[in-house]
């Protein structure tokens, strides 16, 4: 590897060169930088932004692998029940390479991979390309944040999403959600969620309803007695009775439900969350704040009750496991840049997400899924929260200082 190292050293461009930042990010992928500290602080922490992003990326692995297996489970189950021999699109030839036995674990996993890997690849290449082109033109460093945005965006997609929609979503997320404002570190919205919200509203026919949550369902059409609806979708229509007749709480907690690729297993997501809190990359204040807000708000609505809206009766532990609450809680709400930046602010930020998500899920008739919008709303609130918190600090200080 000496040869590669000297290759990079020899070809290091000037900082004024157009491709300096592109060179830097590629070099950083292979080798750590050899730049020496200047100024007064002579030693530095070993952590850098690249490492932080790698930790988050690793933390998505459990949800990602479970997501693939689970997609295969429901996809093959559906094919079996409908008596279909093909998924009806280009995925089929790849799936046939291994087989379509609906009780074989490997076949399930392969099925999921065939659906997920193309989505992830498309999103990854599009997202990184947007970031690289933008950064090169704007002449600022290419940030590894795009790395995380792309994987999170992929995991938040439904299994059957057309690839061009996934590509346009992440492009919107990276460019409008982040790069227009200066790149990672300066974005006020979570880029992955911005992209997700964009495709949600831009292509509602393909990305909502009951048809998109099981791979292959949209192409072959529905079959009698089979519903591809998510637990949250059922809850919105039929309330607790509806969920109970389809899923047990354990199934929703461990992730044996249809849904977006990465969101199904609350258990694995919480495990990843524990890892991120341990490494101090994710803020525990935001996570517990969000949980607290959700528990209090949903319990309050339980108490109030409603005869016409069945969602009022959903208790907090179901809110936790159905839909993308856990996924958003661990991976999206904790995004440090668009969250509040003070410790007190992080609590308030978290609580407001928890409250808003229940409000949207229960009171809003149009969207059963509230987590995405709740986090985006809270992103918009974050600067105001910080401003209020620091005002307390600054007004106290100025009063003292001027006395």
């Amino acid at each position: 590897m000496k040869f590669l190292e000297s290759f990079f050293d020899r070809n290091r461009p000037q900082k004024s060169n157009t491709f300096f930042y592109l060179y830097e990010v590629v070099q950083n992928f292979f080798f750590s930088s050899k730049v020496a500290t200047t100024g007064k602080t002579h030693i530095r922490d070993r952590v850098d932004v690249q490492r932080i992003m790698v930790v988050v990326w690793l933390a998505t692995f459990p949800a990602m692998f479970w997501g693939m297996y689970n997609m295969g489970y429901f996809g093959l189950d559906y094919l079996d029940k409908g008596g279909f021999s093909t998924t009806g699109d280009w995925h089929n030839s790849l799936i046939q390479l291994v087989g379509t036995d609906s009780s074989n674990h490997l076949h399930r996993f392969w099925f999921g991979m065939v659906y997920f890997v193309p989505i992830y690849l498309t999103v990854f290449i599009t997202g990184i390309a947007c970031e690289a082109i933008f950064s090169t033109i704007r002449r600022h460093e290419i940030n590894e944040g795009a790395f995380v945005s792309t994987v999170l965006f992929s995991l938040s997609c439904p299994p059957d999403i057309p690839l061009w929609q996934a590509a346009s979503g992440i492009a919107f997320g990276i460019v409008v959600g982040k790069e227009l404002f200066g790149g990672t570190g300066k974005n006020f919205l979570n880029p992955a969620l911005t992209g997700r919200a964009f495709i949600y509203f831009a292509y509602p026919t393909e990305l909502s309803g009951d048809m998109v949550w099981v791979a292959g369902l949209a192409d072959n059409g529905s079959i009698d007695g089979y519903s591809g609806a998510t637990a949250l979708g059922i809850a919105a229509l039929e309330g607790m009775n509806g969920i109970n007749s389809n899923f047990s709480w354990g199934q929703t907690f461990f992730g044996q439900i249809p849904g977006s690729i990465g969101e199904t297993s609350t258990f694995l997501i919480l495990l990843a969350g524990a890892y991120m809190v341990y490494t101090k990359i994710a803020s525990w204040r935001i996570i517990f704040g969000t949980l607290a807000g959700m528990v209090v708000m949903s319990s309050a609505l339980n108490l109030i009750g409603s005869d016409t809206n069945p969602m009022f009766a959903i208790p907090w532990y179901w809110h936790l496991t159905i839909g993308s609450f856990a996924f958003g809680l661990v991976y999206m709400a904790t995004e440090p840049v668009s969250a509040a930046n003070t410790n007190m602010g992080r609590w308030i930020y978290g609580i407001s997400i928890g409250v808003i998500v229940v409000l949207i899920r229960v009171i809003n008739p149009a969207f059963p899924e509230g987590m995405m919008l709740a986090i985006l709303f809270a992103n918009l609130l974050a600067p105001a929260i910080d401003f209020t918190i620091t005002s307390l600090n600054t007004s106290r200080r100025m009063e003292r200082y001027n006395s």
């Binding site: 020496a36 030693i43 922490d45 952590v47 790698v54 200066g182 990672t184 101090k280 930046n341 100025m398």
Partner: protein
């Protein structure tokens, strides 16, 4: 005796601390006076390159602080006056003839004037700008810092208790100067016969030894009150001056660091040359720092001298190597304020550091480490972001007047985006100073 426990902060466990209290004397051949030690200095030269100087002879007068003199701590020849951009002064280097011929010392009876004549006025620094106070001004509060600022330097208490007599005499002078109170902050109980000073016991992680942390806990800065700081070392020097009626430029210096073969304690002269202090004591390719690894000055040959306010020299390895696929490294030997490395589980007692930045420069990603290591009364993330964009109006409100550059070093250390907040702080406080004094 009151106890103050500071929350937050960071333990940076480095190798190479001075443990034994064995003093070696060293009279340096070269000494240097560095202009960066004096905030806002506009020098007027009383002597020029090649002139003979005697101990205590004024070399520079500050035009922005009428009457304040920077004096030579040794006798000999001014070997060079180094200037940088726009002919701004960088350093004055003096070759010591070791004859110790003294400049005539005037003692008038006025404390301030006498200290200035003895070259001791710069022992004091006034907040908010961390600047040598105006001659003839009197402080309301003086904070004496007896804390071990960096874990590598010798526990100052050992020296203070040995020089107890002089320390007490120095405190008497401070008491005479201060209109309201003198506070002593130490990590251990400081023994002193002086009963009028208020003593505080400080505990906490780095940077809880910094005076800024003590000031906000004990008696926060107000515009109408003058707050000065002084280090234990200078109190002893003032005491010796009072006792002997003669110049005193001696200084205890811990030579420390992971690339230092044998950490030692020297008794030398203020401004001593770093190369002489570390001669034969460095291993590998290393960087000499006046101060600690977290906050210190390392310069080229013009500025490689002990800075006015540091009692420590640190030698750090300057060898940097690139790791292949660094982002996958387990890091069982890598220190971090976060827990992303295996070292958070194996918990080695000490870590080896080098001068690598350990990453690429990125925009600030505030994952919350700033809040965790903060010991001051600020909202760190917003403060640091304001530094990065140079928002002077916001910085005033967010508390820049309560802090000085050295307080920023802990944030520079932990920053995953590798910002240098010390340098940013200096730029901002310089601009504020210019705004208020033009």
């Amino acid at each position: 005796m009151k106890e103050i426990k500071l929350k937050g902060g960071l333990n940076v466990p480095l190798f190479g601390s001075v443990e034994k209290f064995i003093v070696e004397d060293l009279e340096p051949k070269f000494i240097g006076i560095l202009s960066e030690d004096y905030f806002g200095l506009k020098p007027k030269f009383l002597l020029s390159e090649g002139d003979q100087v005697r101990v205590g002879q004024p070399i520079i007068e500050d035009k922005t602080n009428q009457g304040f003199k920077i004096v030579s701590p040794v006798s000999g020849v001014i070997s060079s006056v180094n200037r940088g951009e726009k002919r701004g002064l960088i350093s004055v280097e003096i070759e010591n003839d070791k004859k110790n011929t003294l400049f005539e010392l005037n003692i008038s009876g006025d404390v301030g004037e006498d200290l200035n004549n003895a070259g001791l006025w710069d022992s004091f620094r006034e907040r908010p700008f961390d600047r040598v106070p105006n001659i003839n001004s009197k402080p309301n509060y003086i904070f004496v810092n007896c804390c071990r600022k960096d874990p590598l330097e010798l526990n100052p208490n050992l020296i203070i208790s040995k020089e107890n007599h002089f320390f007490d005499l120095g405190l008497d002078v401070l008491e005479e100067l201060a209109e309201n109170a003198v506070f002593i902050c130490g990590n251990e109980e400081i023994e002193t016969a002086n009963e009028n000073v208020e003593k505080f016991l400080i505990s906490g992680k780095y940077p809880s030894g910094n005076s800024s942390a003590h000031i906000y806990k004990i008696c926060p800065i107000r515009k109408s009150k003058k707050t000065w700081t002084i280090s234990w070392q200078d109190v002893i020097r003032i005491g010796k001056y009072i006792s002997n009626k003669s110049y005193c430029f001696e200084k205890y210096v811990s030579v420390t660091g992971s690339a230092c073969i044998e950490p030692k304690l020297f008794k030398t002269i203020s401004g001593a040359s770093l190369t002489e202090l570390t001669a034969g004591n460095t291993s590998k390719e290393s960087r000499l720092v006046s101060g600690s690894a977290l906050y210190g000055t390392s310069g080229d040959s013009y500025t490689s001298y002990l800075t006015r306010y540091s009692d420590q020299v640190t030698i750090i390895s300057d060898e940097r190597k690139a790791n292949l696929f660094n982002w996958l490294k387990l890091g069982e030997k890598d220190h971090s304020a976060t827990n992303v490395f295996l070292s958070s589980i194996t918990k080695p007692e000490k870590f080896d550091f080098d001068t690598n930045v350990n990453g690429g420069y990125r925009a600030i990603v505030p994952i919350g480490v700033f809040d965790e290591v903060n010991v001051f009364d600020i909202d760190p993330t917003l403060f640091l972001k304001s530094l990065a964009i140079g928002d002077l109006v916001a910085l005033r409100e967010l508390g820049i007047f309560d802090l000085i550059p050295e307080d920023m070093s802990v944030f520079s250390y932990v920053c995953p985006s590798k910002y240098d907040y010390v340098a940013l702080f200096k730029d901002c406080i310089d601009d504020i100073w210019k705004e208020e004094n033009s």
